[in-house]
């Protein structure tokens, strides 16, 4: 689709495409965007129309999750505490997008500091699911996913700490890819849990996702965890799955998973089989410890990452002329929402002397075991096929009061972040009119294999073409 859009823009007008998109956003009730970069986007589009530039994404509009720093565009992580913060620099991925000619149209809504599975913890209010506006779009990159699904963006960037790209992709019926840890530079991504998260694409098709990843991936000396990789994600995309071995982890099915979701995933496995792949059951025995380990690690890192927000140099300012301790305490009290405060407190507790060994160190050990689970599995199989989420999108307000059930929703996505491997979520059907997501997981840096399997599945099924009605 991006390929067609690029041709349309090249032969027509970027300004027209982008103003139409912006109009669509402005009349929308989804609340997918925190801020539109209307002026700069249109200016850039006019410039492009005047003298078009080359580039893999020349003239293509893209939406950016509000956790990614954009020079000159307010970047808030959907938190009051960052209100008014305008980064003086671009994230690495933004530099890459601009270098390939893309046009940034705005910043999308998200759970505050990526802490959530529903985009309900945003200080700007929840984003609505375009398939059913009473339901959540998933999270934390809910704005990006809803925008792509509703045609309010041609593609988008999200960030995925424990499922934050794949979950909303699944709930909104689009493609979302979390790359291998280290594939995409995190420079400019506002950290929530920095040992777990990656920036990745949300798009309408596998090919679009591969194109965006091709643009943003690659070594960046400003991120010490960034790897040197070769790219080429669009090469061999259509080579099919003949001879590919799919692993079906038994821990990802059964109790807690909606029947309709399980059925869709098994249908998908049959499709892959029809296309020439084989499948076998595998075991990831430490899956049951993943959620606990994930939340301890993520909250611990968050308690440190979010400590810098004191209102001293940027962001929210409340109260006046008190001593520094009082001032920053008041700013943090007013600036952070309840979920963020909860995670900071729990993380602080987990890292405290006397508890560090019992929680954080233990969580790191579990993480190693989970990594080993995946390593073992990938000795026998090329990809793993699982549900992305155990159920389709839930109602706004339905789970936010029952945190444990909300945390439980991440059960199939967080092990992937703990292991650092790549995974994609693809539309694989509907349950009660709501999209269901299929998760395909690859070994470290095996993005090409994941894309190849995904594209084969996509070509054989109609799900990705389904689009919701415009919500006005």
């Amino acid at each position: 689709m991006l390929r067609e859009l690029k041709e349309e823009i090249a032969s027509g007008s970027a300004e027209e495409v982008i103003s139409a998109l912006l109009e669509r956003v402005k009349r929308s009730k989804l609340n997918a965007y925190n801020a539109l970069a209307e002026e700069s986007a249109l200016a850039r589009a006019r410039k492009f129309d005047g003298s078009p530039w080359a580039g893999r994404m020349a003239g293509i509009p893209i939406a950016i999750k509000d956790s990614i720093s954009t020079r000159g565009i307010e970047t808030t992580c959907s938190s009051r505490i960052l209100q008014g913060y305008i980064p003086p620099y671009d994230a690495h991925v933004i530099e890459r997008l601009k270098a390939e000619g893309a046009i940034i149209i705005g910043k999308t809504n998200m759970d505050e500091f990526c802490m959530g599975t529903s985009t309900e913890t945003s200080c700007f209010g929840p984003t609505r699911n375009p398939w059913d506006t009473e339901r959540v779009p998933g999270g934390s990159s809910g704005g990006s996913a809803a925008a792509v699904a509703a045609g309010e963006a041609s593609c988008a960037l999200g960030s995925d700490t424990g499922g934050s790209i794949r979950c909303p992709a699944s709930f909104c019926g689009i493609v979302g890819m979390k790359p291998t840890y280290g594939l995409v530079s995190r420079y400019g991504l506002i950290s929530y849990a920095n040992s777990l998260e990656q920036i990745g694409p949300l798009a309408s098709t596998v090919e679009d996702a591969a194109l965006v990843l091709e643009v943003i991936a690659g070594h960046d000396p400003r991120d010490s965890t960034s790897a040197k990789t070769e790219g080429g994600y669009l090469d061999g995309l259509e080579d099919g799955v003949r001879g590919m071995v799919c692993g079906v982890p038994k821990e990802y099915f059964g109790e807690g998973v909606d029947d309709s979701v399980e059925r869709s995933v098994w249908d998908a496995i049959s499709v892959l089989e029809d296309l020439g792949a084989s499948w076998r059951e595998v075991s990831l025995p430490h899956t049951k410890y993943a959620l606990a380990a994930y939340y301890i690690i993520a909250m611990s890192e968050a308690s440190s990452n979010l400590a810098r927000f004191d209102g001293l140099r940027y962001g929210l300012r409340v109260g006046t002329d008190k001593d520094w301790h009082t001032t920053f305490s008041e700013i943090r009290a007013a600036g952070f929402g309840p979920e963020v405060k909860r995670r900071i407190l729990l993380g602080t507790y987990a890292l405290s002397a006397g508890y560090y060994g019992r929680y954080y160190l233990k969580a790191l050990k579990v993480r190693t075991l989970i990594k080993e689970d995946f390593q073992r599995a990938f000795q026998d199989v090329d990809v793993l096929v699982t549900p992305t989420m155990p159920f389709p999108a839930f109602r706004i307000g339905e789970r936010i009061q029952d945190l444990l059930s909300l945390y439980m929703a991440d059960v199939f996505t967080v092990p992937i972040n703990l292991a650092g491997v790549p995974a994609i979520s693809l539309p694989c059907g509907f349950a009660g009119g709501l999209p269901v997501g299929l998760q395909i997981v690859g070994d470290h840096f095996a993005e090409k294999t994941v894309f190849r399997a995904s594209r084969a599945y996509e070509d054989a099924t109609p799900h990705h073409a389904a689009r919701p009605q415009e919500v006005i």
């Binding site: 720093s69 920095n194 965890t225 440190s304 810098r308 520094w324 560090y356």
Partner: protein, 470 residues
């Protein structure tokens, strides 16, 4: 032993000879610039920024660790030390904490009773916080400003075992450490904040007090002396010294309680996920090989090679620039004489003027030493020449001439001329008889008597004068 003093030091050394900070590309050359002009998104801790280790800083740290006889770890590992303070824009400091680069070293110092081995517990890297500038004094300021120019500078923390037994030994340790760092070319000790010291002091059997953030070696000695008196007084009054952190008030010369350990911070250390461990084991042999001759070795060599006293050797080797200066002079002038004049005279005159050795050229010293050797100037005159060079500039010869310090030299040549003319009767007769060349023999005799230090042209003129006067 009752009342025995036990001191351990934690010395923060800023690696200010690096071109850039520890985790970003900002320049380290901020000392003469306005506040907050040497900053970037990384050292300001802006959201989304990440640290990247400065490899040169790691190499410098390895150099120091090896020079302090530490064992260097196989890889680097960094932790986050979490605490809130306005000079710390990320609200955590990146430090090696539990995984110091160097472990278990030692150095030799001049102790109260002879040489003493001071054990080094560890050497680790960390980033410097920014600098708070109070509007007024720390307890009365209405507001405080922050300067982040210093923020992110590479620091080394050198921690000793509690092996020091007096404030004087503490100072000797710091002098020695500074000397070694000077040799390693990793820091400029004259820059503000280059070396900051935290010290722990206890009297045997008692709890220790930590005195934080003392600058200057003299300051350390004074602060510790005050602390000993204070702790003794506490005991005398029948009370116990409490475990606490104290601040040294330089103006009043006293230490003031900052906080007791009940309020001690829990820094919630955990490994920094943004920095991957870097393997350095392969670097160590090369760095070891490239280590320069260190002060102790140089001192021993100077003693044997130049036959100078140990005191001179020590004085000449405490600063690498002085040591190099001395060696250049000793190559062209008598080494023992050079030792006296560099160590005792020149260093003293430089100190008095707060000048460094770069203000004096080795050839000037050589020239002065040669004049002294041929007794062309007196010692007093030579000191004058040194002072004059430092204060007004100029060459020794010019100064000698201008200040009339060179009289002795003329006399020596004239004495030699008179003696030669008296001794060389036949040659004098030949010359008078019209054989111009005969004068060369007499001039040769003058040169011999002055051991070649007379100017031949001048000697020729003086010999002719002397013959005419006969």
């Amino acid at each position: 032993m009752e009342g025995e003093v036990i001191i351990g030091l934690e010395v923060h050394v800023q690696l200010n000879k690096l071109n850039s900070k520890l985790f970003c590309g900002c320049s380290t050359d901020y000392h003469d610039d306005d506040p907050n002009t040497h900053t970037c998104p990384v050292c300001l801790g802006l959201p989304g920024t990440l640290p990247v280790i400065n490899k040169k800083a790691v190499e410098y740290a390895i150099r120091v660790a090896l020079a302090l006889n530490c064992v260097v770890q196989e890889e680097t590992l960094f932790y986050r030390k979490n605490y809130y303070y306005p000079d710390l824009p990320k609200a955590f400091q990146i430090t090696q904490y539990d995984y110091p680069l160097g472990l278990g070293g030692h150095i030799l110092i001049k102790g109260e009773d002879g040489e003493r081995v001071v054990r080094i517990n560890r050497v680790h890297m960390e980033e410097d916080p920014g600098r708070l500038v109070h509007a007024g004094t720390i307890d009365r300021a209405k507001y405080t400003m922050v300067d982040y120019n210093r923020c992110g500078m590479a620091l080394l923390e050198v921690v000793t075992e509690p092996d020091l037994r007096s404030p004087k030994e503490a100072r000797a340790f710091l002098d020695k450490l500074r000397s070694i760092l000077d040799y390693l070319d990793v820091f400029d000790g004259d820059l503000e904040g280059a070396m900051r010291v935290d010290s722990n002091l206890s009297l045997a059997g008692g709890d220790r007090a930590e005195v934080k953030n003392i600058s200057g070696h003299k300051g350390v000695e004074k602060a510790l002396n005050y602390e000993i008196t204070r702790q003794k007084n506490v005991r005398r009054r029948g009370m116990k010294v409490v475990l606490e952190t104290r601040h040294y008030d330089e103006l009043r010369g006293v230490t003031v309680s900052m906080r007791t350990k009940e309020e001690a911070h829990d820094y919630r250390y955990f490994p920094e996920p943004d920095l991957v461990p870097m393997r350095i084991a392969d670097w160590v042999p090369r760095v070891q090989e490239e280590l320069p001759e260190l002060p102790d070795a140089k001192r021993d060599r100077f003693r044997t090679q130049y036959g100078i006293t140990d005191d001179h050797a020590k004085s000449l080797t405490s600063e690498i620039k002085v040591a190099n200066f001395y060696e250049r002079v000793a190559g062209k002038a008598p080494p023992k004489l050079a030792a006296v004049w560099v160590a005792d005279v020149l260093k003293g005159e430089l100190n008095y003027r707060d000048l460094s050795i770069e203000n004096f050229h080795e050839d000037q010293m050589v020239e002065i030493l040669k004049m002294l050797e041929r007794e062309a100037i007196t010692e007093k005159g030579a000191v004058e020449v040194v002072r004059q060079i430092l204060d007004e500039g100029g060459s020794p010869a010019e100064i000698v001439k201008a200040m009339g310090l060179g009289k002795a030299e003329d006399d020596a040549v004239r004495v030699a001329v008179r003696a030669a003319v008296a001794e060389c009767g036949p040659a004098v007769e030949d010359y008078r008889g019209g054989n111009e060349k005969a004068i060369n023999f007499i001039v040769g005799q003058v040169m011999k008597k002055t051991r070649g230090r007379a100017d031949p042209g001048e000697a020729n003129r003086l010999v002719k004068e002397a013959i005419e006067e006969l």
